[in-house]
Amino acid sequence: MVHYRFPPASAYRLNRCLFALKSDDAFRSRFRADARAAMREMGLDDADAAALLRGERDALVARGAHPYLVFMADLRLRMEREAVTFEYF
């Protein structure tokens, strides 16, 4: 597969964190308030946490993150931060 690959077990915590950012409103709030604490809660290692803090999609995917989770976690965060840009018409 070129675009969507089997999620490696080594990236389970990273994918779980992205899943929570996408789908868990309470976790997303905690992340927005204190990202480092929220990532510690999810057990992310330093390299995963650094890539997520910088929002580096390619680095996250290279570490085993599922591209759709990266995409939607980012979208859900932006929908909250920049709500004004939605429902534009």
Binding site: Y12, H66, P67, F71, M72, R76
Partner: protein, 264 residues
């Protein structure tokens, strides 16, 4: 009995309407959705059996079912500021699980899973009032290895036979597609030519050929979600597609399609 069959895009931008979108294009897709809503009102279904690809929402890596059926009394979910809840046609959902298992499909069922926006976006625009009870049917599209197109087609054929033996008037609706590549470098360059060739095939009633496409082909063409359509195609057989719209946006091939069926 199966009284209607539709496929609808569920592109979230159709609902969220960010400033990045072409307003006129979005409104044309909304108009096609409105046509579906009018058809649903005319068909008077007792239930809508909706096949959607799970967007890693109902199921995460704790368990990844290839094919699943939601069997509850109601189902709810959220997307952004939207909070939604639909009644479930529990007797039909249970019958699909039981008859599906009997026919050799090792289905997962759940009574506790959030309803993905892949279900909600088309229903937001097409659900008649009052709400028609739903039967959510999940297909794993995002987490490889996904069910093969052939298996999806076979499950759809079984679904068609099971629904054909039931007294309820049921509409099948596939949610998903067409070409898009969320989270990848290809997001702004979908395979629109692939979509158009496919719609030509479906309009000619040659849907059987889709059962033979490979997982690799779907991945390359940004059409992993087409598994939901292929499932539906197993149920509608050689019926010819009536394409309400095909609207290629900068990130999605948005299609709305009906397969008019002989029964009324």
């Amino acid at each position: 009995m199966l009284v209607g069959a539709f496929a609808c895009a569920h592109t979230p931008q159709l609902l969220a309407r960010p400033e990045t979108e072409d307003r006129e294009l979005v409104l044309r897709v909304h108009a096609a959705f409105a046509r579906v809503k009018r058809r649903l009102e005319a068909l008077r279904p007792d239930a809508i059996a909706m096949i959607a690809g799970d967007h890693i929402e109902a199921f995460f890596l704790s368990a990844v079912p290839a094919l699943a059926v939601y069997v509850g009394t109601e189902c709810a979910g959220t997307f952004g500021r939207y909070r939604y809840r639909f009644p479930i046609h529990e007797p039909l959902a249970r019958a699909l699980v039981e008859a599906g298992i009997e026919r050799g499909f090792d289905l997962v069922y759940t009574q506790d899973a959030p309803l993905d926006y892949a279900f909600y976006v088309p229903l937001h625009f097409t659900m008649p009032e009052p709400s028609v009870p739903l039967v959510p049917l999940h297909v794993n599209v995002y987490l490889p290895p996904q069910p093969t197109p052939k298996r999806c087609y076979e499950w759809g054929r079984a679904l068609g036979e099971i629904l054909g033996s039931r007294s309820e008037r049921v509409v099948l609706m596939a949610s998903g597609g067409m070409s898009h590549f969320p989270g990848t470098d290809r997001y702004a360059s979908p395979e629109f030519d692939y979509d158009r060739r496919l719609l030509d095939l479906l309009s000619a009633g040659r849907s059987r050929e889709l059962a033979a496409v490979t997982a690799e082909e779907l991945d390359r063409a940004g059409n992993i979600e087409l598994r939901t359509w292929i499932t539906l195609l197993g149920a509608v057989g050689d019926a010819k597609a009536d394409v309400y719209c095909y609207e290629p946006s900068w990130h999605h091939g948005n299609a709305v399609v009906e397969w008019p069926l002989a029964v009324t």
